[in-house]
């Protein structure tokens, strides 16, 4: 029945690279002003905050130090200059590749980031993967049998998890897996007594923090997938797919999930800030030598160079996350397009 003539024209629809590239380009252009605004904002807010860099720098010794001594250190650190000067100096130096020295870490910021960034990314990426995959899987299963026991348990657990601070989860996880079962190490990047970093050790030390961080991020993914899929299951396209005799799996994954996962894709981008917050807490609880844990310290000790660098990193992560989710969204829903 089919003719060769028609077949010539059936080359598959290619990914819309052009619009995607244009969107990415627009985002890249926007990134510069966003970064400028964010770093300046952070400098300004940190400057207006009551935290004192000198006090943080000197630690407990500063409590009994004389005022003269403190003033001298303030001048030495250069934090007595006005805010705009400091920001401008930082910016110009940063553009030449010099990110300054961190007063908290007592190390060049570039070194701090080089040493720690990788571990944070590893932790956050594994956690995110866990959250997305597990959340989606559970969400689909729960939506399939709305009101079933799995749905009820998982939903109640999701709201409970959302109410449970990451500290708590971490502590419980340590208590259960490291203490009661003794199967997983309780913290650190490697065994505390070991000095070498081997992939095996890192992997076993990664399990708990990544799981805790992942699970703390899970409720949003789970509940949005569940709601999206449940709604989609009630709509005509799914009715159509059912009528065609597709298997339950195809109906769920190929139709209900495909239409219902759109909010979840958005979450990929918009949960990045929460992920960073979570990483910050989890790194603290598990003594994970990542960079997120340094954020609070950098903030409360007004360590401008480190704070600015961390902000740049966080901003980049957020922008990339959002770009990724908008690209995925545009791909997943052709009606949205690549306009943003």
């Amino acid at each position: 029945m089919s003719t060769g003539l028609i077949e010539g024209k059936t080359a598959r629809r290619r990914l819309p690279w052009g619009p995607m590239a244009r969107m990415a380009g627009r985002r890249a252009l926007f990134a510069a002003p966003v970064l400028l605004a964010v770093t300046f904002g952070v400098f300004a807010v940190a400057d207006a905050s009551p935290f004192d860099p000198v006090k943080a720098y000197t630690g407990t010794a500063g409590l009994t130090a004389s005022q003269e001594n403190l003033d001298q250190i303030r001048a030495n650190l250069g934090v007595d200059q006005p805010l705009t000067t400091r920001w401008w100096n930082w910016l110009t130096a940063a553009l030449t590749g010099d990110f300054g020295d961190s007063s908290v870490m007592r190390q060049p910021v570039a070194d701090v980031i080089a040493e720690r960034m990788g571990w944070s990314v590893l932790l956050a990426a594994s956690a995110f993967l866990i959250a997305i995959v597990l959340g989606t899987a559970l969400g689909v299963l729960a939506a399939r049998r709305q009101g079933g026991w799995l749905d009820r348990c998982a939903s109640a657990a999701a709201y409970t998890l959302e109410a449970a601070p990451a500290f708590w989860l971490g502590l419980l996880a340590i208590w259960f897996f490291a203490l009661e079962l003794g199967v997983l190490p309780a913290g650190g990047l490697t065994d505390t007594a070991s000095d070498v970093i081997t992939p095996g050790q890192v992997a076993s030390h990664l399990v708990l923090p990544a799981a805790v961080l992942g699970i703390s991020q899970l409720p949003w993914f789970f509940l949005y997938v569940r709601q999206g899929v449940a709604d989609a299951l009630d709509e005509d396209p799914v009715r159509g797919a059912r009528a065609r005799g597709l298997s339950e799996t195809s109906v769920l994954l190929g139709h209900a999930l495909r239409s219902g996962m759109l909010p979840m894709l958005t979450l990929i981008g918009s949960r990045v800030p929460e992920l960073i917050t979570g990483a910050l807490l989890v790194e603290t609880v598990f003594s994970w030598p990542g960079i997120a844990a340094a954020t609070v310290e950098a903030a409360t000790s007004v360590d401008f160079p480190l704070l600015a660098a961390l902000t740049v990193l966080a901003t980049t992560a957020v922008l990339l996350g959002n770009l990724l989710s908008d690209l995925l969204y545009g791909l997943a829903d052709p009606r949205v397009g690549f306009d943003g």
């Binding site: 797919a241 059912r242 009528a243 065609r244 597709l246 239409s259 009606r335």
Partner: protein, 324 residues
């Protein structure tokens, strides 16, 4: 007469509504569909045609209740569990061309992808061959292959209709339910599509049957063996297509009115309005609109010899028994 592909007995569907009321969308429908037969189901909008089709596929909304029985190949469809329906009824025993085809396609996937998926689910097409098979399936319903990579919202109304037909033809199901399969198509395409449907019915070695719900009486005349007329949830007449469209014409006053409303005939609507399905009269539901109605019509006429009317236009006995 060959064994019935579809056998419907006393099928009723009602919807539970707010305030404990019910809408009786289909009431006591009984008919058989033999292998190789094509039945056209006609009736005014809202009389329950689509609901009847949905009931056969187990695709009614959650507030629906069914009664009666319907069997295909000896398998009881009503009350079958979701698993049976999904694994061995839908697409495989009973295929559907839905009425709003665009709304029944998943908006975020291309037509081609949905065709290929259906092919994979219903036939043993190897992965490599999928595209080719999809093109062929599309071709059957006159869906242009160049539009396979379009998303449903990028299709014109007629294209979406053809896509839906293509999807329904894939499974080679013994029973094909086509709900308004010709909307949005020009006359050439209508003819082509209904011919394809007819061919599909005739081809089947094991015997296939077609239930075509349509308002397009010309198309019905073209392919249908018999015509069933539905009014207010009930089947009021089943007749041979030949006699229905030709002489002596339909017997039920309602069916006659329906034919008379055609633009090529009087182009005048049947006066009055169909009764609300939530509040049906005890007697003949058409009585209020019928110029032949008498006091007798306050009791409901039984469905006998293919007709449910106290005052048919001609004597039913003069026609050959229409239903199996």
């Amino acid at each position: 007469m060959t064994a019935a592909v579809l056998s419907v007995r006393d099928l009723s569907v009602r919807f539970r509504m707010r305030g404990d009321r019910h809408v009786a969308a289909v009431t006591g429908a009984s008919f058989d569909l033999a292998a190789g037969e094509c039945l056209a189901l006609v009736g005014e909008s809202g009389c329950g045609k689509s609901v009847l089709a949905s009931a056969l596929l187990g695709l009614l909304p959650g507030n629906a209740q069914t009664a009666g029985s319907a069997t295909v190949d000896g398998l009881e469809l009503l009350g079958a569990d979701e698993r049976t329906l999904a694994r061995s009824v839908r697409g495989r025993r009973v295929a559907l061309v839905p009425q709003s085809p665009a709304a029944h396609l998943t908006p975020v996937r291309t037509v081609g992808a949905q065709l290929e998926e259906t092919l994979r689910a219903l036939t043993a097409t190897p992965r490599r061959e999928l595209r080719r098979a999809a093109v062929a399936a599309a071709e059957r319903a006159a869906f242009p292959a160049s539009h396979l990579d379009r998303y449903p919202h990028e299709l014109s109304g007629g294209l979406a209709q053809r896509a839906a037909t293509a999807l329904a033809l894939i499974g080679d199901a013994p029973l094909l339910l086509a709900d308004e399969p010709t909307t949005g198509l020009d006359r050439d395409l209508v003819n082509r599509t209904v011919d394809e449907l007819r061919r599909h019915t005739d081809d089947g070695a094991t015997g296939r049957a077609l239930l075509m719900i349509t308002h397009d009486l010309a198309a019905a005349e073209r392919i249908a063996d018999r015509v069933a007329v539905m009014y207010a949830g009930r089947i009021v007449e089943i007749a041979e297509a030949r006699t229905f469209f030709g002489e002596p014409g339909p017997l039920h006053p309602y069916a006659r009115g329906l034919l008379a409303a055609l633009p090529e005939r009087d182009f005048t609507p049947i006066p009055g309005m169909p009764p609300e399905l939530g509040d049906l009269p005890d007697g003949c539901a058409f009585a209020a609109r019928c110029d032949r109605a008498t006091g007798l019509c306050a009791t409901r006429p039984d469905f006998a010899s293919g007709l449910a009317c106290h005052h048919p236009a001609a004597v039913p006995g003069e026609r050959s028994a229409a239903h199996a």
